[in-house]
Amino acid sequence: MIKFKSHRRLYLFLCLIIPFWLGVITESLADKVTLDASNWGLEEGKECISCHKKASAGLTHEWESSAHANAGVNCLDCHLADEVENDAIEHEGNIIATIVSPKDCGRCHTKEFKETEGSVHSKALSLIKNRMPALADNLSGREMIAAGCAQCHGSQVEVRGDGTLTPETWPNTGIGRINPDGSRGSCSACHARHNFSKAQARDPSACIWCHTGPESPDDDVYASSKHGALFASNRNKMNLNSDEWVLGKDYSAAPTCVTCHMGASPGIKASHDVGMRDSWSLNSPVSEKQNLVIFDDGDRRNLPISQAAPRRGTELSKLNGDMGKVKAVATPKRRRQIMAKVCLECHSKGFANGFMKQFDDVVELYNEKFGKPAQAVMRALYDLNLLTPAPFDEPLEFTYWRLWHDAGTKARHGAAMMSPNLAWWEGMHLVSQNFYGEFLPQVRELAGKEQGDALIEEHVTSLEHHSWLKNLDQPNPILGYGIGRPSHD
């Protein structure tokens, strides 16, 4: 230990050391943007403000109270465009673009841009390519794409020859938006403009905007989970405005979506690759664990474990169809490890692992008891030409869709995030009602009793899970059996 001969020397030492110490702190807070401040604050951009204060006072007021304004980042720093860009427009003497793409944000926020560009979020549009013809074209109409699908999944923004953006594709802040500059994603999907507040993006409401409804019922799941309840009652203790937001250091009252899926906790770096820590696919007819393939250019994709994991250095198709060179593969186990490590800030290892087991068990139960048998029956009906190839022209197809897409998703998401109601009453209980009460009777109706029974025997009742259907003598009074008879009271 350093010994100081007098207080004077101690003060001198402190005077010398404190500036260094402060320096370290400021650097660690500002490490997100490593560029020098001389890279922004364009002179011409300062002129925008006087007029926009009058023309769009709300927008300008939002920006004025933002960290951007505080750091001297003005309108033009983000909206500046090059003449050759296809969405460039002339505006009051400057060449700008209406859309600030992730690539534009990435001029300063390099790390975040690379992480989102590689993430499943940025591919949200390509992920639903197979669903759009059935759901948008057949069941509704193209009008629903702009108002529905693309709101969350993103539009492919079209620029007309006259420089305008087509109203079918813009305005749009869907997270998988394909921008005129070719980049994918939209930062303002979560970071609402023009304040870009940290607190706003960290609040679950930022995610819930899209993670709601049957396809991703996470708003209801979170709200009815213990974690969500804690957040609701402790919102003011969440320190949401803090520069850094490390679990256990800057906050502890409750975990939010950010905490587990992308947030920093001791030993775990924050990442804008939301989805990186997900080991299961939970939005498919049958769930599968998935490898995360990392390409050498930073792009990433999920690959179900039923497909062989590619070796380092081999070529694999990316989600956009291009070929990429594999740099690394993160196994579901590794992904789970990272996710589970977050739990350890508040829970014991045994607690965390126990919970994960409960979650995995539900997913596997869903898969084995309902997901796989129902899928096998559907496949057989298509093969036997008892169903036309067109989706949603037969009642059974709606029943099956509700089974895995609506109720099945709720059950699995409910179990993933500890909502007893979603996991059971609105989830697996409805899966089960659907399966036994609608799906199987409709299969019999469609295939005829003989063929229907054969199909059901092959894919359903032969399984241990459904063996109770062969033992129909077990009484239970909850549906009225034996009520009023003395022997059953």
Binding site: C51, K54, I89, E90, E92, R160, G161, G163
Partner: protein, 208 residues
């Protein structure tokens, strides 16, 4: 009483000629005024079919159908004030007539719209060169109140050193991007899509 003595060379014939010449001159100026007036009307301009195509979006615009009923016709915006300037503008504008007769088939909406951007750029430059003089025939910057509270302030403070055309283009005719960001490729594709042409057909038509 002082008696004015005419110089000797002012003979009766000279006086007569001067009088005829003067009257003819006045007549000519009056003719020019009437001529400029007549040739500035929508009716006259649209006698060429190519101009009818340009007039269609105009008839949908607020300059054609303002709440006040004060309609700006072609010449109100595109022909300068004053008989000499107006005549000169008409003289220069004669090239449009020349092109109508000898140029590409502007009467075809496709050809017309393919060539429109260059015409728009030229027209914008014309306004810029004149400091938006023809706009100011009707519009007084300080008197622009609009419908929102700050419209007047924006014009008085932020647009203080600007003339109308610098901000207000694409008001009346088919929308054309600013010359600096104009992309011929994208424009041609848009026209092809609009008129159901095959990709690349616009480029061929433009070369003809």
């Amino acid at each position: 009483m002082i008696k004015l003595r005419m110089p000797l060379f002012i003979t009766r014939h000279v006086l007569f000629a001067l009088m005829i010449g003067g009257l003819a001159g006045i007549g000519f100026i009056l003719f020019l005024i009437e001529f400029d007036h007549f040739t500035s009307t929508e009716e006259f301009c649209t006698t060429c079919h190519s101009m009818e195509i340009v007039a269609e979006p105009y008839r949908e615009s607020v300059h054609y159908r303002p709440d006040s009923g004060v309609r700006a016709s072609c010449g109100d915006c595109h022909v300068s004030e004053g008989v000499l300037s107006a005549t000169w503008d008409h003289f220069v504008g004669g090239k449009d007539l020349f092109n109508q007769i000898f140029g590409p088939g502007y009467d075809d909406p496709v050809i017309n719209e393919l060539h429109l951007p260059e015409a728009a750029f030229a027209a914008r430059q014309w306004f810029k060169d004149r400091n938006s003089a023809t706009c100011k025939r009707c519009h007084v910057k300080e008197a622009i109140f609009g419908t929102r509270p700050d419209t007047n302030l924006i014009h008085k403070e932020d647009a203080k050193d600007k003339s109308c055309i610098e901000c207000h283009y694409n008001l009346v005719h088919l929308r054309v991007p600013d010359e600096k960001v104009f992309k011929r490729e994208a424009w041609n594709r848009m026209i092809e899509e609009k008129y159901g042409l095959k990709p690349g057909e616009a480029d061929k038509l433009l070369e003809e």
